[in-house]
């Protein structure tokens, strides 16, 4: 899979990831969150799995492939929430499902989703990534009634607020339940008035 495929959204991936591939991606996500994508080496991933670099390279040909697989794995979680929201009969219920779903996701994977989706390297991958763009526009359509370009601001803000807040040092001492309920309360306030 080369860069052109990424940009066009073509998916030459060979079906679902193998067990070994899933382990590589899981280890990579954890390290990306702690050291950033650029600060994570294949040696670190290999060491955390108890194998050698060559074994990691056997699963993914290049480091970019690992980054992409990790980013798309996180995107998959998000997509599942948006799918569930889209299946709701009314817009209000869709929004409720979307908001609680994303808050749950962020709290559950506190410090992982967040950092990964805001890492400059991954953002760079996503800028021309069709699956990502489609997902973000679906999110915008669910959250805002506007159609102009400024309709995306609430979505960007909502997304950044949730994923950024859960990993903020200020709330590091807070338990998951308190964090979750506070986030829900504040988010609903954001979208209380007609968006």
């Amino acid at each position: 899979m080369d860069r052109a495929d990424v940009a066009t959204g073509r998916q030459p991936r060979s079906g679902p990831p193998t067990a070994a591939q899933a382990r590589v991606v899981a280890a990579a996500l954890d390290l990306f969150a702690r050291h950033g994508v650029g600060g994570t080496s294949l040696g670190m991933i290999a060491r955390s799995l108890g194998v050698t670099k060559a074994a990691v390279f056997h699963q993914y040909k290049t480091k970019d492939d690992i980054i992409l697989a990790a980013a798309e794995a996180e995107l998959g979680h998000l997509e599942a929430v948006v799918d569930a929201a889209d299946a709701e009969p009314t817009r209000d219920r869709a929004r409720a499902v979307l908001i609680t779903g994303i808050v749950d996701l962020a709290v559950e994977r506190r410090g992982t989703v967040s950092v990964i989706l805001s890492d400059p390297v991954i953002v760079g991958f996503f800028v021309d990534h069709q699956q990502f763009r489609r997902l973000m526009h679906r999110l915008s359509r669910l959250l805002s009634d506007d159609t102009g370009p400024e309709a995306h601001v609430p979505t960007a803000m909502f997304f950044a607020a949730i994923s950024g807040a859960v990993m903020h040092p200020l709330v590091a001492d807070l338990d998951d339940e308190t964090l979750r309920s506070q986030l829900l309360l504040l988010t609903r306030r954001l979208f209380a008035a007609p968006g």
Copy 2:
């Protein structure tokens, strides 16, 4: 300056940065924002300044020193805004100054403040950084009337929302003015009810 000094907030720095140091920090911030801290090498910083790596090392002994100087430079901008807010006579006016100040800062330095303050490496520096912790608690006190641990959630969310939203791909095409007014509108909604 060693790690212990960072943790205790002691400042053995030799006064204000020289012109050459300021140029290094500015170049570093730009590159950190584009490639992440871990993805930025001293060679990249040197090349972007048109000098050699040794010249960069002459200004700062280690890469960590550069990271810290860059992080504290960004922190300085934030501190100036909080200082201005604290000087206001009433809490409502203080909040207004704080919110517009931070929104202005984020839009002005779109894509720089944001990435820098959320980079895992810099967050790691800040966790035990006294100046950062004091600043964040001042921010919390201004934004929330609560005193419990959950009082920090709105602050974390506000901070993450602003700094994260300005660099989100969804709003990449938006002009600064539209982005600024939208952010202000939405932020005021967040803090409309008694916090």
